[in-house]
Amino acid sequence: MSEVSFWEAAFLWRDPLIATSLGAILCALCGVFVVLRRSAFVSAAVAQASGLGVVLALLAPHLLGGEVPPLATGIAVGAASAGLFAVSGRNARIGVDASIALAYVIAGAASLVLGTLLPHEYERVHSLLFGDAVAAPPEEMAALGACALLVAVFYAALFPRLVFASFDPEAARAMGIRVGRLDAALYFVLGLSIAVATRALGALTVFALTVIPASGGLLACRRFPGAIAWAAGSALAAAAVGYYLSFVWSLPTGATIVLVLAATLLVAFALGRWRR
């Protein structure tokens, strides 16, 4: 157990906890459409694509002779890869799940192969991509806040169309909604948010935060607003409780948050059964 009490160490955890909470709400909001569209592995694929982007950016001085910002490139490639899922999922002969799997394995393999050209920069690639929720530089908090605002505005503007186009794309298209553009925009927003959140919180935590709270909302609630509220509320609660427990018991923060999220899923399951 830590010798300094949790409350005495507020100066240590205040900013990281705010960043974790922002990231939790951001991922939970994204997760509702991720789970409903059966694209649960999108965050894993975006993380791999972001890694490829960082590797390419670090190779740029050797290949192009000029510097490219690695973190921004990683986030941009991650977001763009999610936009491609929309195109391939709707119009091609393979489903969106297969597109996500392809992005995951191809980006992962390409990163490993290209990474051999950067033998001394593995740690830099890793530290650029995967945060651990215990440090929160101001630029990370700003990026998380901007993404949360972007998702909130995107949903506020287009929520009825997003629901229609996701639930019944054929009818939505026939009734005048530009489903392809809407899908691409949604996946781009999800990809950008996931890439930024992965940088701040780590891949495992973001994966869990996009899938578990939304799944809990669907288990516990019968209506859309309730499911979204559950997702955001349980993610926020799990982030705070997980952060607290990891501090007082000296546990890995991200993994502790994931286990608390798993506990909320059990509560949602029980609540759903009780309401049936």
Binding site: V35, L36, R38, A156, A157, L158, P160, R161, V163, F164, F167, D168, E170, A171, A172, R173, A174, M175, G176, I177, G217, L218, C221, R222, R223, F224, G226, A227
Partner: protein
């Protein structure tokens, strides 16, 4: 007086339209076609003949391979009832939520509409599902689900109601009940109806015109015309349609 005779101009027009999914394989020879306000058009033919592609091009969801599509009614609205009935059951939607979706294409960004809610409840009453507005959509029976999808297609006040084989999962009495419902709604709203079907028994007498699609050909006319020139031979059950 037919709907066509009472209207000054068609809703939309296809001119030398080449329809299909692959540029080198149009489904029919170039088509000239007009859809008139208030008319009931049945698009019939065997499965896989290209009925849905024709209608997708009509509503603008499938780009033409050639020719032109002209919309002559400003802000023309389509309501659409899909063929499929199987929706992902994980969606936490009530029947009212699904019906409200039909207003989404015309809802400006950032806007919620109380009048859309009221309109959705009103249309649900019209299709006989007023008591199931708050029931989970996934819990509805096949027939109830089809009625809810008709309500969704109507909630935006469309001038054209398109139904893509909506009775595929229904028996003949169920199909006749759906035809009667749509006829009643058409009488109330004045919407044109475009009904795709691979069978004509329940529909033939309602249709102002029939577009018959088979093996690369596209023929259009009244029931009597298509019967007399032999187009419907082997397709129409004469006992049912006469």
């Amino acid at each position: 007086m037919s709907a066509r005779e009472g209207s000054a101009a068609p809703h939309l027009r296809l001119i030398s339209a080449r329809i299909g999914h692959r540029p080198d394989q149009p489904l029919f020879p170039p088509l000239d076609f007009e859809l008139w306000p208030g008319e009931w058009l049945v698009v019939a033919g065997p499965n896989g003949a290209g009925k849905s592609s024709f209608v997708q091009s009509l509503v603008g969801a499938l780009p033409l391979l050639g020719g032109r599509r002209e919309v002559l009614t400003p802000g023309l609205r389509f309501g659409y009832v899909p063929q499929r009935q199987a929706f992902d059951p994980i969606w936490p939607l009530s029947t009212l939520d699904v019906v409200r979706m039909g207003g989404a294409p015309w809802l400006p960004p950032f806007r919620r509409s109380a009048s859309l809610d009221a309109r959705a409840r009103e249309v649900l009453e019209q299709v006989g599902l007023g008591g199931l507005a708050d029931a989970p959509f996934r819990s509805l029976s096949g027939g109830q689900r089809q009625r809810a999808l008709v309500a969704r297609a109507l909630v935006g006040g469309p001038q054209v109601l398109v139904l893509d084989e909506p009775a595929n999962h229904l028996d003949l009495p169920g199909e006749r009940a759906l035809v009667d419902l749509v006829a009643d709604l058409r009488a109330r709203t004045g919407a044109a109806v475009v009904w795709i079907s691979h069978r004509l028994e329940a529909l033939a007498r309602r249709a102002d015109r029939i577009a018959f699609v088979r093996a690369g050909s596209f023929r259009m006319g009244s029931l009597a015309e298509l019967r007399s020139d032999g187009t419907l031979e082997g397709f129409l059950d004469r006992g049912e349609a006469s």
